[in-house]
């Protein structure tokens, strides 16, 4: 009988006792508030958009089912299939270029029947799993050298480049940041660290001078360049490129202490907010609920991120720990970049707000990530071989 077969149902039973209510409640609360906010955000736009929140609920249901499945299967199966999943993700990314359609100058979608799929979203999870597997299989208690980092770097850089080619700067950025966060978890030998820092300073100083103009002129698209210059001069050109960012800030400010009230934010209701359902759902929320509502929301994200670190810390193995930190990093960087760009402390990069932004791939990815967290959290207790034997796992 396979160890992964029906016999593990008792283990699941044990895991059920360890159900992580805090994680579940926090995520569910965010999802509900997200839908309510989406309702407010799309209530004013034409009739066809008013169905968006219903669509979002469908996605949440699908995401919930998938998260349950993801949580139910012991995460060590993912560990075993880690590289296969990763390879699958990379293949999907390549398929984008073959099957994808060009929308607004970038191709990010695969169409299967009436469904559209954004592989770069799922790639984030596959990368986390692959990185976790690598670090799990490669324990270095005496610290890592630069050579040891080559594999994780390669694992990251392949999908990152593919996504940059789409081009999707935001998602590529998130991949890079997930890698950095996971790397920060590992112990790197002091000498290697110096090399690394030296290299960064060298590349930043010398190579940067060489590559930044090259990057600026040849790699970045016109709209990306405009976004960066707009960020550097936030109060300039309010009528033009900065109009969106400026009006997002006006909406947040218009919220004041307690907000204008649900569905009463004028910036949103009178269409001054761009992309209010995709990139800028937060200004809608901040305008409706004010500073008090906003800190509650930020606290919820903060709790989710800190909780994922706690899950990692209590994890019984390296794979689970990296998995939890990776998912936590995913949520953290998404939330931080989205809130940062809405409030104007970061440039406008197309990064969604987890569980708030409209979009199937994004919702399902985040939900599955939370499923992974739950998985690790439920199975945090190490089952000693002897106890396993007594429980009849043999």
């Amino acid at each position: 009988m396979s160890a992964y077969g029906l016999s593990s149902s008792r283990l699941l039973g044990r895991a059920r006792e360890n159900f992580d209510w805090a994680l579940f409640l926090c995520s569910a609360l965010l999802a509900v508030v997200g839908v309510v906010n989406l309702y407010s955000a799309t209530s004013v736009v034409r009739a066809s958009l008013q169905e968006m929140y219903i669509q979002q609920i469908y996605w949440l249901v699908v995401g919930g089912i998938l998260a349950t499945v993801v949580a139910a299967i012991d995460y060590r199966h993912y560990e075993r299939l880690g590289y296969a999943l990763y390879a699958f993700g990379v293949v999907l990314l390549v398929l984008v270029f073959i099957l994808g359609r060009d929308i607004r100058g970038s191709s990010r979608w695969i169409y299967i029947g009436s469904f559209s799929l954004q592989p770069s979203e799922f790639m984030k999870l596959f990368l986390i799993i692959a990185l976790a597997k690598h670090l799990h299989d490669d324990p270095k208690s005496e610290g890592r050298t630069l050579v040891d980092l080559i594999v994780p770097v390669l694992l990251t850089i392949v999908p990152l480049l593919l996504i940059l080619l789409q081009p999707d700067l935001g998602t590529a950025l998130i991949l890079g940041l997930i890698f950095l966060t996971v790397s920060a978890l590992t112990r790197i030998q002091r000498k290697s660290l110096y090399w690394l820092l030296g290299g960064i300073v060298g590349i930043g100083g010398g190579g940067g001078a060489l590559f930044v103009p090259l990057l600026w002129n040849n790699v970045l698209k016109e709209y990306q360049r405009q976004r960066i210059t707009a960020f550097l001069n936030p109060e300039s050109n309010i009528q033009g490129i900065n109009w969106h960012a400026y009006n997002a800030r006006v909406a947040i400010g218009n919220g004041g202490w307690t907000g204008q009230g649900f569905m009463r934010g004028t910036q949103n209701q009178y269409l001054f907010l761009p992309d209010q359902y995709s990139d800028f759902p937060f200004p809608v929320f901040a305008e409706d609920w004010g500073f008090l509502g906003s800190i509650v929301l930020v606290a919820l994200y903060g709790f989710l991120v800190l909780w994922s670190i706690r899950v990692a810390a209590t994890s019984k193995d390296r794979f689970g720990a990296v998995l939890a930190v990776g998912v936590g990093a995913l949520i953290f960087w998404h939330a931080f970049f989205n809130l940062g760009m809405a409030t104007g402390i970061l440039p406008v990069v197309g990064v969604t707000l987890p569980l708030f932004s409209y979009g199937g791939s994004s919702i399902v990815t985040v939900m599955m990530g939370i499923g992974l967290l739950m998985n690790v959290s439920m199975r945090r207790f190490y089952v000693a071989p002897g106890r396993a034997a007594r429980l009849g796992y043999m």
Partner: protein
């Protein structure tokens, strides 16, 4: 063996890092919270104000321009409703917009085909418009031209307007905007006097809205631009419409409306909640004007001048200085220029009017000045009589020609022996050579200036020509050579450099007729409210009394009576025994010199004399003075005099007809069709 039995990996490597990751995440979220505090609490009020400014728009409420009526209450200028249609590309043709990433496909139907059918666009216009909309919708950001309305049709026919309004839903994106158009029921009649309205031009607008106007506060704005002119506004361009603009225009009001980022107005309690008091300022309608002119008399003037291509006529009430008819020919239809029927019609009409060799846009009654010819003689005679420089009973022998040195100077006929009476009534130039000699140029000029010649009358409706009364000093400045006696002779008979406007001549004859009172010409009799109440009534204003002794005036007037009634009078052959008219004919040489290569037909016309007749009636207790100028009409007695007599006849007929029904004039005026 199961994996379960293998001890799990060592997690010690990560243990120390969690704390730092947690701290980093905490600080990052704290930074967000601090920023939120700054935006929402510290700068909250400022952003709330900006958000308000975003959605509250002050919409100007139109005012209605005042109506211009003639003395009898007939409408000469009013406003009629007119509708323009604009298309918003993004709403008429959603398919032209770029597809949006991530957003669900919006299956809004294109209303454009149906809109185009309703507007009866031809295939060519349709294609051009579709192209233009596709260009506008290259992007559909909130402020892209995709959401900016395009003007498609002006002054739509009523049935199309009704259709558009009825099917608003199916024709989404087609906006019908009212834009009242000035309407002149009498068309060409009185066009120069009433004038027309036109869209404000850049130069005028620049005067009302100088650089930096936008940054001024309301008070300063009111100072530079009290009537609130904005681009696209219409204002009076000529005539009464121009001169009385500030009365006719009215004051626009405003209303606060809630508007979204795409410029659409929102209504309903949710939107109205956002409007702060005061939410509205009512517009003040323009004042109506009651003119002194009688459009029926003007109609008669037009009819009696119908055979002549160009000229002018002025009828003035000699007892008040009120103008009863002012007519300049050729004329134009102010409806062509006031925007009715669209910009294209205005452009075409302008192109035609500005190239017409007879200058239809020129108001010849006051903007054009002409040699008065013999109609000037009474004033020369008065100059000589006043200082007793000539004995009116003494005769001069006219042989038809007189020589100054070797220069022959011709008279119209051989008059034989003439005294002043006959010299005026028969228009003898030889006699006036003697008058010129006796009085001298400066005395004649003094009397002429006393009668108002050489200066603008101050009517103000159209740019006035001052005319010219020559003096010796004027010639001294103008000619290097010696002063010649011929200059004075020319002045005495209204030739040479002397010019007058028909309006000046009419007022001067008015002064002759009423015993020496020179009135200020008056065109607006009263300012009225839209319901007929009188706001301001303008009594006649006397300019001054001329310094002429009554017996001299009487003597000249008798001679003017003789012009029409003496068997040898110049106008006797065309007189009407039933009319009591005194007047003076004039045939003024134009000094046109034919050049080689000129169009012979044109040269023939241009070289003909101006024909004049200046008259008043009745000769005792006169009521009106009439001046008729037929440009290049030829002879005054045969061309101008019959026209003037016809005008006097019509005046009498109208007076008699109205005397029969004095009470219901306004009623009849309302019923009468133009």
């Amino acid at each position: 063996m199961s994996d379960l039995l293998v001890p799990r990996s060592d997690v010690g490597e990560f243990r120390k890092r969690y704390r730092w990751l947690a701290l980093f995440a905490f600080l990052a979220f704290l930074a967000i919270v601090v920023r939120l505090f700054q935006l929402q609490v510290v700068r909250g009020r400022e952003f709330a104000e900006t958000a308000r400014e975003n959605i509250i728009r002050r919409v100007t409420l139109p005012t209605t321009r005042g109506i211009v009526r003639d003395a009898q209450g007939k409408v000469l200028a009013s406003s009629r409703p007119s509708y323009n249609v604009y298309l918003v590309p993004g709403r008429v043709a959603p398919s032209a917009r770029p597809k949006k990433r991530g957003a669900p496909v919006m299956d809004e139907p294109d209303t454009f085909p149906r809109v185009a059918d309703t507007l009866r666009l031809n295939p060519d216009e349709r294609a051009r418009l579709a192209q233009r909309m596709a260009t506008a919708c290259a992007t559909d950001e909130d402020r892209s031209p995709c959401w900016r309305p395009i003007l498609v049709r002006e002054d739509l026919p009523r049935d199309i307007v009704a259709e558009l309004k009825q099917h608003q839903v199916e024709l989404a994106g087609a906006e019908v905007t009212p834009s009242p158009v000035r309407y002149y029921p009498y068309k060409n009649l009185g066009a120069h006097l009433v004038g027309y309205t036109a869209e404000i031009d850049a130069e005028t607008l620049g005067r009302f809205r100088p650089q930096g106007y936008e940054s001024l506060n309301a008070e300063e704005r009111a100072k530079v631009n009290p009537l609130g002119y904005d681009s696209g506004d219409t204002l009076g361009a000529t005539g009464v419409e121009h001169a009385w603009e500030s009365y006719l225009r009215g004051q626009r009001g405003w209303e606060k409306r809630v508007v979204d980022a795409r410029g659409r107005y929102r209504t309903g309690p949710e939107a109205e909640r956002l409007i702060d008091a005061p939410g509205r300022q009512e517009p003040i309608p323009g004042r109506d004007l009651r003119l002194t002119v009688d459009i029926e008399l003007t109609q008669a003037v037009e009819k009696s001048m119908r055979v002549h291509p160009a000229g002018a006529a002025v009828v003035v009430d000699v007892r008040t200085g009120r103008l009863l008819a002012v007519y300049s020919k050729p004329d134009f239809d102010p409806n062509d220029l006031s925007g009715g029927g669209g910009r294209e019609r205005v452009r075409q009409s302008w192109a035609k009017l500005s190239t017409d060799p007879l200058h239809p846009m020129l108001d010849k009654t006051m903007s054009g000045s002409f040699q008065p010819g013999s109609t000037f003689k009474p004033f020369s005679a008065l100059a000589a009589l006043e200082d007793r420089l000539i004995d009116p009973e003494e005769t001069v022998r006219c042989d038809g020609v007189v020589y100054f040195g070797r220069q022959p100077w011709h008279c119209t006929h051989v008059h034989g022996k003439v005294a002043m009476h006959d010299a005026l009534s028969e228009s003898c130039n030889i006699y006036f050579a003697k008058v010129a000699e006796a009085a001298g140029m400066d005395r004649i000029a003094k009397v002429a200036q006393d009668f108002g010649f050489g200066t603008k009358t101050g009517l103000g409706t159209n740019p006035e020509a001052p005319g010219r009364i020559t003096t010796r000093s004027w010639y001294a400045l103008r000619y290097r050579g010696q002063f010649r006696v011929g200059f004075t002779l020319n002045t005495a008979i209204g030739q040479g450099a002397t010019t007058v406007t028909p309006l000046q001549l009419a007022l001067a004859y008015g002064a002759l007729a009423n015993g020496g009172t020179l009135y200020l010409p008056q065109i607006v009799r009263a300012v009225e409210t839209s319901d007929g109440g009188v706001v301001q009534d303008f009594p006649p204003r006397v300019h001054h009394k001329v310094a002429i002794r009554p017996e001299n005036m009487t003597r000249v007037n008798e001679a003017l009576w003789g012009v029409v009634n003496d068997p040898k009078g110049t106008a006797f052959p065309v007189r009407d025994a039933a009319l009591d008219v005194a007047g003076k004919t004039g045939t003024a040489q134009t000094g046109f010199i034919t050049h080689e290569g000129d169009d012979p037909k044109k040269a023939w016309y241009e070289s003909r004399d101006h024909a004049w007749f200046a008259a008043f009636s009745p000769s005792k207790d006169p009521e009106i003075a009439v001046v008729v100028l037929i440009e290049h009409g030829g002879s005054g007695p045969t061309q101008a005099a019959p026209v003037a007599l016809q005008i006097v006849r019509e005046y009498g007929r109208l007076q008699a007809a109205r005397a029969g029904h004095p009470t219901d004039q306004r009623q009849r005026a309302a019923n009468a069709k133009p």
